[in-house]
Amino acid sequence: MKPGSLLKIALAAAMLTLAVPALSFAAYPEKPVNMIIAFTAGGSSDVQARIMQKYWDKYGSQQWTFVYKPGAGGAIGFGEISMARPDGYTIGGINVPHMIIQPLVQNAQFSIDDFSYICQVVNDPQTVAVRKDSPFQKVADVFAYAKANPGKLKLGLVGPNTGHHLMFLDVKSKMDFPVTEVFYKGAADQNVALLGGEIDVMFGNLNDVMRSVEEMRMLAMASEKRNDFLPNVPTLREEGFNIVSDIRRGFVAPKGLSKEILGYLRGVFGKIAADPDYIADMKRAGQPTEYMDGEAFAAYVKAQNEIIKAALSRVGSKK
């Protein structure tokens, strides 16, 4: 082989390697993007992602293919996202604190460092809810009654090892709260138990209690500030209890995504989150929106990881 042709080949190869990333960036996304949902079709996470999809179709060029990987409280689906090829064609929805708790307590096949964070879209605070006919008028009444009658107050939680459970641990670490706690498989069962009188009070997500809002009274919300959905419900801090607890929904891709693709995804999601029609649709579906960009969301998850690790170590649930 002549040295000249070798040079030509080397040049061509160099041009190709330069061209490939540029091309792939210019073209992304050139085929449908898989959206992994770690819960069943029709659940809250699915409804949220479907609303998002409507606007993705407006700003993005390719469709989403929904892939449902439910099981083990989301851990199966989250693991699936973390193990996917980081080419931008597999992204998925995640929930905090689920994705933080699972690697800590059940040997889940991922860790919080296995993801590229796109953004947070929902902040669903916990509420303290009672039946409409309950004698409890203020959240302080609930805590006082629990203290005065150890074991008599029946508290419903979804769990164990969930956001509800963490809030319960948080409350217990801050005050004397000797109650009978009952775990339910899901929010629907928990709502039935409250309305049917099996439990006296429950910690429930805003999105879930809104489904039976006619029958319940929300005493307080475990959020930083009041929520537009229920503007008359005070925060726990206003009532003198320093407790903030919520469930966040966001979107992630596997770790190792190229800067360009991650930038593209973050850009489109940011545009969707700012669309007034999207915000109106979310409100109608009872999903409390709160946008946080990818960097901030990643930092939030890291910070929460330390807090939750400490809380679980205290009660000995951590592996």
């Binding site: 099981g71 039935v192 138990a193 009188g197 489904r211 039976s212 006619e214």
Partner: protein, 509 residues
Amino acid sequence: MSEFILPAIGHLLEPLNIFLMIAGLTGGIIIGALPGLTATMGVALLVPVTFALDTTSGLIMLGAVYVGAIYGGANSACLICTPGTPSSVATTFDGWPMCQKGEADKALITALLCSSFGGIVGTVFLLFLAAPLARFALRFGGPESFWLCLFGLSTIAVMSSDNMVKGLISGAIGMLVATIGLDPHAAAPRFTFGYYPLIQGVEVIPAMIGLFSFSQVLYLIGSYKPYIASYTPMPKSLGRVARELFATCKILLLRSSIIGTLVGMLPGAGGEIASIISYNESKRWDKEPELYGKGIIKGVAASESANNAVIGGALIPMLTLGIPGSAVAAVILGALLAKGIQPGFKVFTVTGDLAYTFIMSQFAVNLLMIPVGLVLIKIMVRLLSIRLTFVAIAIVMLSIIGSYAIRNSILDVWIVIAFGFVGYFCNLVKLDTGAMALGIILGPMIEENFGKCVSLSKAVDGSILQVFLNSNIAVVLIFCTLLSLVTPFLLEWKRKRARGETGGEANDA
């Protein structure tokens, strides 16, 4: 209410809505008939389509798919002994023997007419008694559900009256299988043997597909038969079946439909439990219980009317309280919420137009199902004229694809194959796979609700008995369970005495 009914009927006559009902039914029946594609999946797949329709039409379509899919499961239950949806497990008990006797069309038409009847009864309850029934459903908490499940389990005693020990062993194996996965209370993994996907447990549907359909394929292949069953079409079968049902099954149908509606209202308990309970109640109260399981239309009627009545029941708490009574109702609730419809008792006044149009559409769908179903039966029954080798391959393929599609997990494919062999060998040694299925379905619910009772007992000084006795419904259910356990012995005693008496009369003569 009456001011909404007439406009509602008007909405139903719109050509688009008629089209959606027929298309929804047809699609639903086909989804239901394919093993592995369940009603929940069918409805969930169509939710995005409703975003393009107005709320009323979208809801009508989802309702039609729901009804079609729950009925559709009966077709594969009768023709290939594979419950197309978990609710039609009990339909296989008599539908499959009927098919083997060459009465496939009779079984299928019975299933169709009874599904339609059950659906209409459920809708009547939804229309007239939604509010009081929703209040009643709320009273089913931990202790009540625990005893309801135990009552369901006690029917093993009736189901396997020929050999109760084998029935109990199968039931126990089923419940043992149900403990695989995360413990619902302490969240500790059990029996996963270090294989992470097992943490989610053994899903009911793949286990059913394995136990009933994959094992049937193994059996059929071993039988060297050229076709599944011989089949000669019966002339005027629709009229005959209708007359026979009217003559012999009036009370049975009403009872099964009421059981279906009541069970449907309870969150967590769906068509699979309703159909098994009503099958066993029909058997218990029948004069000739020994004929059940040998291919009589009563067995098909009991199961199919109950599982379609579940739909009306499941919609009651969904519309009035925002609490879905079944997995499909949960998906429909999601679609409603996405449209900004707030469930609650106000749904019948504020959005009365929508609510009553939906309810009236359920009547229309159940009636339309008869002609649509008849056409599809004509097509599906042709399956019996295809050579077994092809049918067997198709069943295996559908079983595997269907089980994988449930949660996109390869674990479920292994479950189908493993339970296929379990089912095959159980049949060889005459262990009752129906009882095993019951254990797998009810096991997790029993465990979950028992755990709730234990937690609740902390509030009444640690006595779980106190938790049970504090609930009137639980006390009634405890009594029913005990009664259910002694019936086989009572029946046996009665039979012996009857034999003694006739023997005595013969001597006198």
